[in-house]
């Protein structure tokens, strides 16, 4: 055993044990660690955003623009979005501040304006990109072509994938009763769905175990020095 002399390792180790103590039952050590985590995370995030986003992107350019006005008076350049220092930044700032309107019931409807801008922008941006990457390319990848059968293993898996996709879609097709050929295909579809769920569950177990391993290695290697 080779205990770490680092105070930060000790703090992290004791907080890890405090969080793990929840596995036995809810207790004050767990609550302290949990609240500490939430507080530190929020504090870090707010301070980081202020220093790395608000100040360089908004405060500093506006300060520069204001000092330019004081020295040289208003000029067209101060309203040019290409220039880093420009007063047009006040427009998105004002729109962004409207998010706070929801705290005032009489004007809370104003929050719809920034939400509308946000949704409109991201939908316009995302719909073609997502359609191309997640739908068209996936459909094209599912199709069987002559190239799919260059070797028999690839060809066989190509057929399995196509059958899986078609049968799973049929399983989720509710406009007709699942009887006859439709019913048979739907039953095959549910097998594919279950295999998918099984694979997801297996990988989820692997992921959670990996996280536990990470913490255990920290405790037994970095803190206690038992593991070499």
């Amino acid at each position: 055993m080779n205990l770490s002399p680092e105070p930060w390792i000790w703090i992290a180790a004791l907080l890890t044990i405090a969080i793990f103590s929840f596995l036995i039952k809810e207790n004050p050590f767990y609550r302290v660690a949990e609240h500490l985590f939430v507080g530190v995370s929020n504090g870090y995030f707010i301070a980081f955003m202020w220093h790395n986003v608000a100040i360089p992107v908004l405060v500093n350019p506006l300060r520069t623009a204001t000092s330019q006005v004081a020295e040289e008076g208003l000029s067209r350049g101060l309203f040019n979005p290409v220039n880093e220092a420009n007063f047009l930044l006040l427009i998105p700032t004002f729109i962004g501040l409207l998010y706070l309107a929801r705290f005032f019931p009489q004007v809370s409807w104003l929050v719809r304006i920034p939400i509308a801008f946000y949704l409109g922008y991201y939908m316009g941006l995302s719909i073609p990109a997502i359609l191309e990457a997640n739908v068209l390319r996936q459909i094209s990848g599912t199709m069987l072509t002559r190239a799919s059968f260059t070797d028999w293993v690839n060809g066989m898996w190509g057929v399995v994938v196509l059958a899986g996709v078609v049968c799973t879609i049929i399983y989720f097709f509710f406009s007709r009763e699942h009887r006859g050929a439709l019913g048979a295909a739907a039953r095959v579809g549910i097998v594919f769905v279950m295999v998918g769920f099984g694979a997801s569950f297996g990988y989820t177990v692997m992921a959670r175990i990996s996280l536990a391993i990470g913490r255990m290695l920290f405790l037994f290697r970095d803190w206690l020095g038992i593991v070499r």
Binding site: A129, E132, A133, V205, A207, I209, S210, L211
Partner: protein, 289 residues
């Protein structure tokens, strides 16, 4: 109480204790087995290997946080070792704030390893010449799109506050066209954002390093060729570490490999629990019938 009821009402704390033991014992007494390399990992390794070292750069997007560090951090370290060993220049960035500290840790670790072995300035890994840490720009989609036009406009300053115009590597790296491969190491959907917004529009090749939870969702993108390769969870990271050490003789601590004995033992234990629970469930159902 019969054995069936006992089987189905085991106190969950006993299960936690068994899992803890199953994880801890193999750490102290590892099995020492080799990790067979799976095709998705081999594909990513080959894709990184195929980057022309003096012509294109490897970009690593560290889009993860401390929660997923055990799975994803070893991937970043192994990718950096691979790139530096093959003299491939590297850009590192993060789409999430939390990834910055981890990316810096990976860079510091790997650069110290290589510079500790270097015998001349040419062998050393030099900031600005061999790698640049671009840092972070919000929100995620904007830098992804912006890098298609100008990386230096998206990142006018690097993580350390240097003007990116002054860094030699950045003078030769304008857009995605100068990247041989972009690997997003992510605990979320970031690799898909790169596929949707950067690959569809600018044709960049994308690789993914992801948590095991996401693997089933991401496999279709590997099959269609949208991902040039994929590292799946801690196992994928261990495979990549194995490939880097075996093919390039690059040593160093193998964090993912250290956990693989525990991982295997825990999987066997979980499978045993699932089988036992199903035996109990079926026996109780038969008895009720």
């Amino acid at each position: 109480m019969g054995w069936i009821e006992r089987l189905l009402t085991i106190d969950r704390r006993i299960i936690f204790a068994i899992i803890a033991l199953v994880l801890i014992l193999p750490m102290i007494f590892p099995f020492g087995f080799r990790t067979p390399v799976t095709p998705p990992t081999q594909k990513l390794f080959d894709a990184v290997d195929a980057i022309p070292p003096r012509d294109k750069v490897l970009t690593i997007s560290a889009d993860y946080d401390p929660q997923t560090e055990p799975e994803l951090h070893p991937m970043t370290i192994a990718l950096l070792r691979h790139a530096f060993a093959t003299h491939t220049r590297v850009l590192v960035l993060a789409l999430y704030v939390q990834g910055l500290g981890l990316a810096e840790d990976a860079l510091t670790t790997v650069v110290a390893e290589f510079n500790g072995r270097a015998t001349s300035p040419q062998d050393s890994i030099v900031y600005g010449r061999d790698y640049v840490f671009l840092g972070w720009q919000p929100p995620p989609i904007i830098p992804i799109l912006g890098m298609g036009t100008s990386i230096r406009q998206v990142f006018p300053r690097d993580y350390y506050g240097n003007d990116t115009d002054t860094l030699p590597l950045m003078k030769e790296t304008e857009t995605y066209n100068d990247m041989g491969l972009l690997v997003s190491v992510s605990g979320g959907s970031a690799p898909l954002w790169y596929v949707a917004y950067a690959q569809s529009r600018y044709g960049i090749r994308v690789g993914a390093g992801i948590t095991a939870v996401s693997v089933a969702d991401f496999f279709p993108y590997l099959e269609t060729g949208q991902f040039s390769g994929m590292l799946a969870g801690m196992k994928g990271a261990a495979e990549y570490e194995e490939l880097v050490e075996r093919s390039l003789a690059v040593g160093g601590r193998r964090k993912a490999m250290e956990g693989m004995s525990s991982q295997s033992a825990a999987h066997i234990a979980i499978m045993a629990f699932v089988v036992l629970a199903n035996i109990g469930y079926l026996a109780r159902r038969r008895r009720k019938a």
